[in-house]
């Protein structure tokens, strides 16, 4: 059985930076280090950070703990929340992905220049909640199927960094039929686009796709949905323990891809476990 691991699988620039920053703080301080919400959407990384003394905390618990260092997650936080924690005297370490920061800046700029801000993204995702806080009252959060009710004539678009460009194209097509002036900042992060592209190409050359990453990770879920839409047997797992032998019966080639928040060590474990299964079922690479 041949196992192919996507070159683009795993930590992106922003996630690596955030995890490094967090470990750096934890090294100096074994106590009182918190991240506001999970620093990235990967339960295994969060568990590992806990071993290093870093705990996620939610805003409503913030009064109850003795916090020294408070780390802001890769996805960013709403402006009002930032102002709130800034006034409390913690040391704030801002691990917001620089590409997300840029999108926040553009949302603010569009609003200041009189555009109605439209955000393409998932309104429940923390990144989008952060963006909304910069976007003004008449903000619309849309997906590719939205009916765009309430759309004005002068519209500025920013995009959740992990959205596929195909969704942006669809939204643009819908918006341009109604608005007269449209300014778009394509804030889709390049690594997301490349990862989707490599994953799509990979599906043509393998029999089974294993997508590795947090079940709560939007970009990992998106990878799994992409594979499924291309009619290939697809399994979304967080760890090697979830792999089942039956998935690989009759498969000659297995593809592995992983979301931006999936650490290397998990991808390696997955590869090793599939190789073992291949051996067990007599199809050794």
């Amino acid at each position: 059985m041949k196992i192919i691991i996507a070159k683009t699988a795993g930590f992106c620039f922003g996630v690596k930076r955030a995890v490094d920053m967090t470990l750096d703080v934890a090294k100096k301080d074994r106590d009182g280090v918190y991240t506001l919400g999970p620093i990235i959407h990967n339960p295994q990384v969060i568990a590992k950070l806990k071993d290093e003394g870093v705990s996620p905390i939610e805003m409503h618990d913030i009064e109850d703990r003795e916090i020294r260092d408070l780390i802001i997650r890769t996805h960013g936080i709403p402006r009002q929340l930032y102002d709130n924690i800034s006034s409390r005297g913690f040391r704030i370490i801002d691990a917001t992905c620089p590409f997300v920061k840029k999108a926040q800046h553009y949302a603010k700029l569009l609003k200041e220049n009189g555009y109605q801000v439209v955000i393409l993204g998932d309104s429940n995702h923390p990144e989008v909640m952060g963006l909304m806080s910069y976007a003004g009252r008449d903000v619309l959060v849309v997906n590719e199927g939205s009916d765009l009710q309430g759309l004005k004539s002068k519209v500025g678009i920013v995009v959740q960094t992990t959205q596929p460009v195909e969704s942006l194209k669809k939204v643009l097509s819908n918006v341009i039929e109604r608005a007269r002036e449209v300014k778009v900042y394509n804030t889709i992060c390049n690594s997301t686009a490349l990862r989707l592209k490599e994953t799509e190409e990979m599906t043509h050359n393998v029999d089974v796709m294993i997508v590795v990453g947090g079940k709560n990770s939007a970009n990992t879920t998106q990878l799994a949905n992409l594979c499924r839409s291309l009619s290939i047997g697809t399994y979304h797992v967080e760890t090697a323990a979830e792999l089942q032998e039956i998935w690989f019966r009759g498969a000659d080639r297995v593809g592995i891809t992983a979301g931006a928040s999936t650490p290397d060590w998990i991808i390696k474990e997955i590869g090793k476990r599939i190789r073992d299964i291949g051996g067990e079922s007599g199809n050794g690479q």
Copy 2:
């Protein structure tokens, strides 16, 4: 035989305005009235204006005539040409369509704000040549199939007023894959969009489509191409004299649409002639 004439057929706001302005000048002055190029793309209207003493003239003949009034056509002219004729002491009557003027203004604005200007349109069309003169040196003129070679990262789009919105959607989809910041002024004129829409709907309810207008009229040709793409028997004519009986054999319902530069009297003549043919072939309405 039932004959259905599109509500949106014929003169648009800009054309009506230009023809009225020209007739107004011609009324006061029976001599020395010229239009720089044909005022609109309809040979029959041009012939009628000639009877009123208005002749089209090309720039290279401008030295040879005694010109008092020089009328600028609906499609507009390049900036340099405007400067040139302004310095010659004619009375200039600017009949440029206000929507085209607006597109010229946006092209200039985009250039001044550091955008590479992309014009969606036909590079040989006088409107587009006018737009180009405001757009800066790195301007790209594109159609929906263009490969966008030379596209920069910060792009501003304006559109020839008679383009279909579907073409704009395709260009936007291509541009947004490469550029990071895109500002679009949707300068497609509403009457073009409505005319295309009504024509498309009409094709579902008739057996034959007659498209009336100048063979040199971009928007009329576009109407004919739209009908053909919808697999309906389509004939593009300028006058009633071109109609052939054979086209209507077996047809119960005939649709008539016409470009923005087609005068009412031609549309009426066409309707009358088809009604006569229907009578002759025994299918009278």
